[in-house]
Symmetry: C2
Subunit: 277 residues, 2 copies
Amino acid sequence: MTRTAFFISDGTGITAESLGRSLLAQFSGVAITMLTKPYIDTVEKARELAGVIDATAGRDGVQPIVIDTIVNEDIREVIRTATCFKIDVFSTFLAPLEEELATHSSYSVGRTHAIGSDDVYMDRIHSVHFALDNDDGARTYQYDEADIILIGVSRCGKTPTSLYLALQFGIRAANYPLTEDDQDEDGVLRLPQFLAKHHHKLFGLTIDARRLAAIRHERRPNSRYSSMDQCLQEVEQVEALYRSLHIPSIDTTRFSVEEISTRMIAETGLVRRFSPR
Amino acid sequence: MTRTAFFISDGTGITAESLGRSLLAQFSGVAITMLTKPYIDTVEKARELAGVIDATAGRDGVQPIVIDTIVNEDIREVIRTATCFKIDVFSTFLAPLEEELATHSSYSVGRTHAIGSDDVYMDRIHSVHFALDNDDGARTYQYDEADIILIGVSRCGKTPTSLYLALQFGIRAANYPLTEDDQDEDGVLRLPQFLAKHHHKLFGLTIDARRLAAIRHERRPNSRYSSMDQCLQEVEQVEALYRSLHIPSIDTTRFSVEEISTRMIAETGLVRRFSPR
């Protein structure tokens, strides 16, 4: 028996989905199809969706799970009429919060998403373009402006992490790939001078060599670049560098970009320019 | 009187913060300082944090609000001893879900974040690099592989949106800036041939000319590029183009990148390659 879960919102659906996935992840033994339904912001859309939920209940032979963060009472009421097991996040938590804060909540549609303000937008645009301009060691001269500089071997996750930090938190992250060009005449990896002077901003990424080889193989199959020997040697060299210079680092092998980014912030005390959600 | 809210998690804190901000956004009249505390994954860290919460209660003269998504019972128990108004998301919703699903939940730390799988990682890396390679009309030849192609005037939000679609959903988004180079000899904006053949993949962005001028002014102050006249004319031309060719579009002026992206997915039926949260 498979079950269906609907994450329903009058906005982006990000909160409902995030919460829903967290809760349902605790039931790994149950096969659940998860569907996100954002922008259910009128009674008409809610009626249509209630029809879909009812049809799903008939098809599955069991009522779907509904997790919603709809603010408007009329719209919520329509969803409630569908055949479903409903987890009503706002009505569960807003009443006790109203009591604790000794005030009424606004219940206004869209109030959740006060994230499109001009300042946030400008910060975000600026941070994203900063990350792009300073990606992959392209323009080293903006390191003065960087909040953090990610270093590591090619394809260890620097670019996605820099962009995530920029988009989600407005953090200006540069990144620089450590390659054979950064070795001295004895073949030992050295920190370039323009990075050494920003030592306090450096954060190292490392990765399991086997995983690295697989990732590089996608890009350049059967090359020296993607060979196990090459990957092993590069990873050993950067890890030795981090140790000898006391550069904080994180192994990206087992972590998602969200985890790498939030762990980095927690560890360094980096200040977020905004909180998008 | 100012109040403090703590969003506490044994993982990234993304779910706790997202839910917390949504709930507290309903109380616009109350000044609340919001703090996210991720990776509280040991009893020791929880004890330390409980101390911080108690100290905050003393300083504020009122108990802080705590919203947590900690799975481990022992760690939750420590937080519960702090002076706070606690919204315990998991214990509130997991019990009824266990009943509905007729099974026990796993309550395992980290279970929430089954997002670092190899497939998701590869999809994400690929999508991010696709967005970068196809940013700003840099390499038009990969449009065959694109899931969606964003078009619009320079600085209307194409790049952040493309990157967000890639990072959050694994969607391969190219983007192309419509400029004076795309005008015919009469000065009328035309769709370039290499875009016209992908008509079904096109999605237009537009923006309020005043806002556009402000954004461009940050980049090139007092230039023709950032002048109100120029911005007005460019915006009018792209909007006329969208209308005449029936290209779906969205006005980015009032929306966050999250909203633009999720609305685009809702409107086009684009399929997400993964769901990161």
